[in-house]
Amino acid sequence: MLPRLSTIEYAVLDILRSGREMYGLEMVNASNGSIKRGTVYVTLGRMEEKKLIKSRAEENPTHAGMPRRQYKISGQGQAALSAVEHYQAQMSGVMANGV
């Protein structure tokens, strides 16, 4: 079954696909406006509940104050991303060839 991903969820997975750990603001800056600052943490929380991403608190925070949460794509997230991209590729093939 094709996983249901919103546009923001897809954008987050797309940014995290390299496997690098990132925090929310980094993702907002890297997304060129597709992820908004106001919704990023709520979306990340929801995605973590869906087990699409994993997070952990920064171990040695260089910033004084609140430790940042670093997010990383999970195996389930990788699978969801490839499934959606495979479906998109199939659909664009159908559209190009005509039905």
Binding site: L25, R37, L44, E48, A64, G65, R68
Partner: protein, 199 residues
């Protein structure tokens, strides 16, 4: 020895129990950040943060409120440093360490005039920490406040006070909207749970 300790106590002196080396980290091309940690009493820790390019700004944070810091300064006007009593308050000692590191690292050639400015959103931080579940606070609100601190510090470093003010207002407004939505969703979920139980 015991009388010596008693004398130090009488003169408001305190032997610092824990001190962490000053940590220098590059935030971006324009800005470096220095932070240190000094523990004065049980549960009173001071963390300092200095943004290198904003030469007159030092953020000092504490596990306690600012009023507690003031009373700490009142209580301990001197600090025992390597067996000599230094006439310095806890907060100014934290600043001294930070600024000492600035000169050592040659980030600033001139000794900067330091003033203590708490990071923006301290009030919101304490209120939200009290109101919100720990897990949600750490994942949503705390992260948004950390972003505000970072962006405000960047604006400070660029000397752009208008932008700093804009960031602080904008992020407080966003926090308020998110808080309203958060409670709305929580109430909705609770009503739904009650409805499920009833049916």
């Amino acid at each position: 020895m015991a009388s010596d300790r008693k004398n130090k106590k009488l003169f408001g002196a305190y032997k610092k129990s824990k001190f962490r080396e000053v940590n220098v980290s590059a935030v971006n091309e324009r800005m470096s950040e220095l932070s240190t940690f000094i523990k004065f009493e049980k549960n009173v820790r001071l963390k300092g943060k200095y943004v290198a390019e904003a030469k007159d700004i030092v953020y000092l944070q504490s596990t306690k409120r600012l009023s507690d810091l003031k009373s700490l300064n009142k209580k301990y006007s001197r600090v025992v440093d390597e067996d000599s009593v230094v006439k310095v308050t806890p907060t100014s000692l934290a600043l001294k360490f930070l600024l000492g590191a600035v000169n050592k690292e040659e980030i600033a050639s001139k000794r900067p005039k330091a003033k203590v400015i708490p990071p923006p959103g301290q009030f919101a931080y304490r209120i939200l920490k009290f109101l919100i579940r720990k897990e949600d606070f750490e994942n949503i609100f705390g992260q948004a406040i950390a972003d505000m601190w970072e962006e405000a510090a960047e604006a400070d470093a660029a000397g752009d006070t208008t932008r700093r003010r804009f960031i602080v207002w904008r992020d407080h407004l966003r926090l308020a909207i998110t808080l309203a939505l958060y409670f709305k969703v929580r109430i909705f979920k609770q009503v739904l749970d009650i409805f499920k139980l009833a049916s």
